[in-house]
């Protein structure tokens, strides 16, 4: 898709692994959000809407990376990094506001901190592939 000269595809080599990890998270966060929203939305609407938002961001990032949509991927992954930092910090400072876990609670502790590491890797990867000559 729409690769500019000098850019490497985001779907080859390590990029493919990144897409796989994002896919797993899109699935995990998405399923979790659907269950939470459909069965007990009233208990913690803010936390569950955040779960849904996080899931949507993972889906966008996965699709953008898989199709080589560099700009969209950058936006989604950047948003994801901000999200995990803000929600992670808030969930530690004000646990009462987050009665149930989201993917981003406590910087993604429930997911082995992968949600914190993933956007950093994603951004590094986008940078690297943008600079390298093709091939």
């Amino acid at each position: 898709m729409a690769e500019r000269a000098g850019e490497r595809a985001t779907t080859a080599g390590p990029g493919r692994v990144l897409v796989a990890v994002y896919g797993v998270f899109a699935l995990a966060a998405g399923a979790r959000a659907v269950v939470q929203l459909s069965t007990r939305f009233a208990e913690a609407p803010v936390a569950y809407l955040l779960s849904a938002l996080a899931a949507a961001v993972y889906v966008v990032a996965t699709v953008a990376l898989a199709r080589g949509g560099r700009r969209t991927a950058l936006a989604a992954i950047g948003f994801e990094l901000v999200g995990v930092l803000v929600v992670g910090t808030l969930s530690l400072l004000q646990p009462a506001a987050f009665p149930d876990e989201t993917v981003w609670s406590a910087y993604g502790r429930g997911y082995l901190f992968v949600p914190l590491v993933l956007p950093v890797l994603g951004l590094l990867f986008l940078r690297r592939t943008a600079r390298r000559p093709p091939g």
Binding site: A12, A20, G23
Partner: protein, 116 residues
Amino acid sequence: MVAVTVTAVLLTLAGIASTLARRRIGLLHLAGAALLEALLLVQGGLAVVRLAQGETPADTPTFLGYLAGIVLLPVAGVLWARTEPTRWAGTVLAVAAGAVGVMIWRLQQLWEASGG
């Protein structure tokens, strides 16, 4: 359950090994993924039968969500890995298998927290 975990761990290691050895995935990986998928389908089938008999975990929707996700993972992993012509295919498969390894334990926890 134990068989699923062992297979998932072995497949993860095999995937990482082929990446480290700079090789593409081979028949071994595909066979491993097929075995994993077969075990998951058996496990999933048993769970569905017991659900139908009225034995329900406390959080049935979450349990079903995990169950649906876990049986899809090896298939998605293989499809995504097979179109990758480089050594990274192994890591792709390792990611899928690793996720299965984690999710099967989560499923077990959910099942044991029986609502009765």
